[in-house]
């Protein structure tokens, strides 16, 4: 009988022989852990669910519970996984010496130290304690900052705090202007 049934499945007009692999199919996020994120693109602020397994993000989709997006996403939001896993994403520090015609790989530590040194040099060389009217200004105009408007609020806070309050850099600007 079993053989007959199997034959019936495999021979005839519209057979439906289902493979073992198909039988076992399930969504890959079933046993993944989930964290809540916000879409990094526009300012609508869509809530995203980030599914991870073994320390890797396996899927990002909209959050049904959000009163903003109710599970939906736009193409950019839907491509967030692709953004995180972009094939051309840089993951190491690249350094270009003055007048050089090529990039060099450098360690993160080296770059951090070098940047700190350059900041100190430039700041020391161009620091104004008082302006021409004698008013205390405690600033340097020789260093600037352009920020993207996808930096977190906390990051912006730290940038403003260190650069302006700590280093006296006033030319701190953001994409929010343009």
């Amino acid at each position: 009988m079993k053989i007959f049934n199997q034959l019936k499945d495999h021979i005839g007009l519209v057979p439906n022989p289902i493979s073992d692999k198909t039988r076992q199919i399930h969504a890959r996020i079933n046993d993944a852990s989930m964290s809540i994120s916000v879409c990094p693109y526009c300012a609508v602020g869509c809530s995203q669910l980030v599914y991870t397994k073994d320390g890797k993000i396996i899927d990002i989709e909209g959050n049904y519970e959000s009163p903003i997006n109710g599970g939906t996403l736009c193409p950019k939001g839907a491509a967030t996984w692709g953004l995180l896993h972009s094939p051309t994403r840089i993951t190491t520090v690249k350094y270009r010496a003055p007048y050089s015609d090529h990039w060099e790989e450098r360690s993160l530590d080296w770059a951090m130290e070098r940047i700190a040194q350059r900041v100190k040099q430039t700041r020391d060389a161009h620091y104004e304690e008082r302006d021409e009217h004698g008013m205390t200004v405690n600033r340097t105009l020789a260093i600037g900052h352009f920020g993207g408007a996808t930096l977190d609020n906390e990051e912006n806070y730290l940038i403003k705090k260190l650069f302006t309050a700590g280093l006296g850099i006033v030319a701190v600007e953001n994409q929010a202007r343009i």
Partner: protein, 338 residues
């Protein structure tokens, strides 16, 4: 009804794909359906499979009804059936996207899928071809005179085997046409009743032409035997011509476009209709009517032409199908009842 919602059913074409002037509607003239990926592998298979199937049928008929004169026909037919069939599975497997998974074809038998039916038919027919060829070799004494295999093979009922094999031969010769017809490709599907017969007829004509060519080249048969084959060839070609003309007429002006303009149309007109049908038809008529004609030479020439025509026919039918699948207007015409 508010007039402002009325639309003009037209789309401005882009520079790269000009929309034909007569097109009422199109989406940038992009194809509606996807064409098959079949190329020369499949075209040659269609050709060889046809010869194999036709040869087997001819060999069997010759065996059953041909009398002693047709011994040679049977012999060449059986060998040719096997010979032409042998490359076929190779061609088909190479055509697969995943050749190593070819055996999956035999996982199911689906009566409404011509490819499934054809694969099974081809497999079984392959067995018959092999068996009949083996019997032939035994008859030809290739296994020695008194060996066990020879005796075994000669003991087999070769005529019933031939009859059964012929049934599968017809299937293999004709299913290819049905295979094309059971698609959404307008040029094929529109002629779904005619493609099977056409391919089968062409199988017969090319097979008889091939046998003639072999017989002529090995110079071992009588003029009368050849005449019989040429007669068959003639009948098949005439039938082919009728089927082709009927098929073309059935397509209508839009779907038939690939056969009317462009390179394919030229191949169709001069290659298939001209060199493959009209010319051999003339040559064969000449040999039939004019007794002094160099019959062997003309026979060989016309056979060669029939073979070329048969190959071109398959080429044109496959390629014209692709062109028709790429033509949205053909699909719209096919999928829009008057």
């Amino acid at each position: 009804m508010d007039i402002s919602y009325k639309r003009q059913w037209e789309t401005r074409g882009s520079r790269r794909r000009a929309v034909p002037a007569e097109a009422p509607t199109s989406y940038y003239n992009l194809p509606v359906i996807h064409k098959a990926h079949w190329g020369w592998l499949v075209i040659i298979y269609f050709f060889l499979g046809g010869i194999s199937a036709g040869s087997y049928v001819i060999a069997t008929v010759a065996d059953l009804f041909g009398g002693p004169d047709a011994r040679r026909i049977r012999q060449v037919g059986r060998y040719l059936a096997l010979g032409a069939l042998l490359p076929s599975p190779v061609l088909l497997i190479l055509d697969l996207g995943r050749p190593e998974r070819f055996y999956r074809m035999l996982r199911v038998l689906k009566l409404r899928s011509p490819m499934s039916v054809g694969t099974w038919g081809l497999t079984i027919f392959g067995g018959f071809c092999g068996l009949s060829a083996l019997i032939q070799t035994a008859e030809d004494g290739l296994f020695g005179s008194f060996t066990l295999p020879r005796r075994f093979l000669l003991a087999l009922p070769s005529k019933p085997i031939g009859v059964l094999g012929t049934l599968f031969g017809f299937l293999v010769g004709g299913y290819t046409g049905v295979l094309l017809a059971a698609t959404a490709v307008p040029l094929w599907a529109k002629n779904y009743l005619l493609l099977g017969p056409l391919f089968l007829t062409s199988a017969m004509s090319t097979a008889s032409a091939a046998i003639v060519l072999v017989l002529v080249s090995i110079r071992s048969t009588s003029h009368r035997t050849l005449k019989r084959l040429e007669r068959l060839d003639l009948i098949a070609i005439v039938l082919e011509l009728v089927l082709l003309l009927a098929a073309k007429a059935n397509l209508g002006p839009i779907i038939a476009r690939p056969l009317q303009v462009g390179k394919l149309a030229r191949v169709y007109r001069w290659g298939v209709l001209g060199a493959g049908i009209t010319l051999p038809l003339t040559l064969l008529s000449v040999t039939m009517l004019w007794r002094k004609a160099p019959a062997r030479l003309l026979g060989a020439l016309s056979s060669l032409l029939v073979l070329v025509g048969g190959l071109l026919l398959r080429y044109v039918m496959v390629e014209a199908g692709h062109a028709s699948a790429d033509d949205p207007q053909a699909t719209f015409a096919f999928a829009r009842k008057p």
